[in-house]
Amino acid sequence: MNNLPISPDNVLPIPAPIGLLEFLIILTFIMHILFVNLTISLSAGAVGLEITGRIKNNSLLDKMAQSCSFHASVHKSIAVVLGVAPLLIISVIYTQYFYSSTILIGKMWLNVIVLLIIAFLLLYVYKFMWGKWQEKKVLHISVGFVAMLILLFIPLIFIVNITSMIYPERWIDVRGFFASLFYYPEIWQRYLHFILASLASGGFYMFLYYSYKSWKGNNLKDYEQTLKLFGAKVAFWVTVLQLVAGFILLFSFKTDVRILFLGEDLLLTTLLVLSIVLTIVLCIFLFLAGYKDSFKSFTVSLAIFVLIVGIMGWMRHEVRESYLSPYLEKYPRTEQLSIQSDDIG
């Protein structure tokens, strides 16, 4: 572990207790990623439903698609602002790792800005032109499709960055985004896990949204009722797949980290088991949702969902900590102010 290019930490101290910042990064990241999940899955859902609607000449599907596109365009704005806090905290507590991994894919990292501006503007065109472009369906679908492709691509950039940051011993060998994409382990497994989580959350969100609307006393229109049940169905089947994808990801971790989740570490093993049990329970609720509506099952499934997401976010953080722990000892962070420092800022 000698001669790794891990820089001394910034000489200015980390401005809060690290434990507090770790708690905040887990909390704020979960909030952020949920809205990201919704933005991606609802955009993809809108495009998918619109295309199917056109092929089948079914206006019900078109209306369902339109509802998805409306929600996607609202959630994308919230996703961006919510992302500021976790980005701020990761920059402050993992400066030595996150900055290097970011700069190693620096140009693609800056392309995120351009790509997202284009995708977001297209999402507005897609939403606001829905009615006006009824006669220009191909154009309309293309706009949504391009936005969707960009939104599906962006997570890869983030995944490469946060995977590369936990592998400092590999930094020297590879530079640039595309090279890294096929160089670091776990990337595609993480991507699969993430995309499935997005699709499940999107479906679950639509189920919750319209359940809530009907519980408030609104009579759901045909397309709303269909979308609600469709959402539950998507959430169910994708979550079943996710049980497999989760294990694929777990087995892509390096052995030292994987065994922590498989009995070596009591906390992590408990978290993993708990998350699997809860996921199965949620699946049962989602399955039943297709047959009977009850407000009780709505609140219980929401509560379980929140718990699962919380546990997932926590485990995700522990994975990073486990990977980085040997380095964190050897290359300590600046926790206190020393004005006469020996390091170069």
């Binding site: 820089s7 001394p8 961006v80 290097s100 990292w109 800005i113 997202l116 503007l121 800022g345």
Partner: protein, 446 residues
């Protein structure tokens, strides 16, 4: 060098940041703050005068505020941060630690702003009764306040880079935040934001709103805001100028790349156009000529661009005044690095010994660490492109010049490193200069 680096060989680091930052300033000031204020002002006037068309116009403006701020506005804001992480990691790393809680606070305000904006636009048609409309207008006012608050927070960070004040000694957050140029620059920026919004929106209304009486109504409201904002921008701008360090003040004209006279004439003219425009807007809102609104539009965008470039440049040689140089090296470490060597303190330079074989390669790394933040070899800004700037310099001349250049050129940070490292840098520069200009070219001194 604490981190790896990327190269923007043609654009140069400064230009990459400037493109993102200037777009962001135009949108955050002109659209998020200025246009929000104008929108709710129009909505209020429409409510008072029961003018349906004016209300409709205000709604259209709100829609564009929503579209622009949540796409280009938000992403270029994050983009400044993304680009500084890639390009100026030491500096942004330090700033995040100094101003962490300010950023957390800004984040909360920022979320509030976006959520209010979404509600504000999407409830426009459903909150119609007089009671609800009043509530809606109040929502618009809170939107303006929230947008202003984000500026009030981030200005503390920006101003501290030029005038960190007592922070240099105390390392205290409040000393950094409430620094000597905080209030004047905040005041200057907020009225500048209003002026920018007025000219931009007026230009667009002049183009797209054909209904003369509707345009007149809107321009009347703009006129009132302009009559307050233009003098305030001027007065607070002077206060701001007087509070910046003398060395920085002296670099203002230089940093624009203009001669003193051109600078005065261009800025004087732009200000004059603004006054003429504003008087016209107030005296005869129906007849504002399109050419005048175009001129004033151009002048304002130019002015904002100039302001950003100047603000970024006059800090030189520092990026955080009296603390960190533009290349990320700390002021306090100069002697130590000269003694122990730059390589010894560079995590990302793998060669720790200089040999004849690796000399040019090491020189390249030294160049990347100490020069690349402002210079290129062959970029579009000729003054910054060393391949062009240094035509005719031989190795001896470079070797004598580099260690003393900061005495002659006030914008340059001092070279830090040992004599061998200087040799390596010179060898690399010489090779690049020759390559850019064709090796056979006969040397000619500048």
């Amino acid at each position: 060098m604490n981190f790896p680096y990327v190269e923007y060989t043609w654009l140069g680091y400064g230009t990459v940041i400037a493109i993102i930052a200037i777009i962001h300033v135009i949108i955050s000031h002109g659209v998020a703050i200025g246009t929000s204020v104008l929108t709710v002002s129009l909505e209020y006037r429409a409510f008072k005068t029961e003018n349906e068309k004016l209300d409709e116009l205000a709604k259209t403006m709100a829609k564009w505020v929503l579209i622009i701020t949540t796409t280009v506005g938000a992403m270029t804001g994050v983009g400044i941060w993304f680009s500084t992480t890639v390009i100026q990691p030491d500096s942004i790393g330090a700033l995040l630690r100094i101003f962490f809680w300010a950023w957390v606070t800004e984040w909360i305000v920022f979320i509030t702003e976006v959520v209010i904006l979404i509600i504000y636009y999407y409830t426009w048609d459903s909150w119609k009764s007089p009671e609800k409309k009043k509530k809606h207008i109040n929502l618009g006012i809170s939107l303006s306040v929230a947008s202003w608050l984000t500026m009030a927070i981030i200005t503390g960070v920006l101003a501290a880079k030029l005038t960190p004040g007592k922070w240099i000694d105390t390392f205290s957050f409040w000393n950094a935040f409430l620094n000597p140029t905080y209030l004047p620059s905040l005041g200057f920026r907020m009225f500048l934001a209003m002026m920018l919004a007025i000219v931009v929106v007026a230009f667009l209304l002049r183009l797209f709103v054909k209904d003369l009486s509707l345009r007149e109504e809107a321009f009347k409201v703009f006129g009132v805001w302009g009559a307050i904002s233009l003098p305030m921008t001027f007065i607070l701008g002077l206060w701001y100028l007087w509070s910046i360090p003398e060395q920085a003040y002296d670099m203002i004209v230089w940093s624009t790349g203009m001669t003193e006279n051109t600078f005065k004439i261009i800025n004087g003219l732009a200000f004059l156009i603004l006054i003429v425009f504003l008087v016209w807007l107030i005296r005869s809102p129906k007849t504002v000529p399109i050419i005048l609104s175009l001129a004033v539009f151009g002048a304002s965008i130019g002015f904002i661009g100039e302001f950003e470039v100047v603000r970024e440049s006059i800090r030189k040689p520092f990026i955080i005044y009296d603390y960190m140089y533009a290349n990320g090296l700390l002021y306090q470490n100069q002697e130590k690095i000269n003694e122990e060597g730059y390589l010894a303190h560079s995590t990302w330079i793998m060669e720790k010994e200089i040999t004849e074989e690796n000399k040019v390669e090491v020189g390249r790394e030294v160049f990347a660490g100490q020069c690349l933040s402002c210079h290129t070899i062959d970029g579009w800004r000729e003054k910054r492109a060393l391949g062009k700037r240094l035509v005719g310099w031989d190795e001896e001349a470079l070797k004598t010049y580099i260690p003393t250049m900061h005495n002659v050129r006030v914008a340059m940070p001092p070279f830090m490193g040992t004599e061998e490292e200087l040799d390596a840098l010179v060898a690399y520069l010489k090779k690049e200069i020759d390559e850019v200009n064709g090796v056979k070219e006969v040397s000619q001194s500048e």
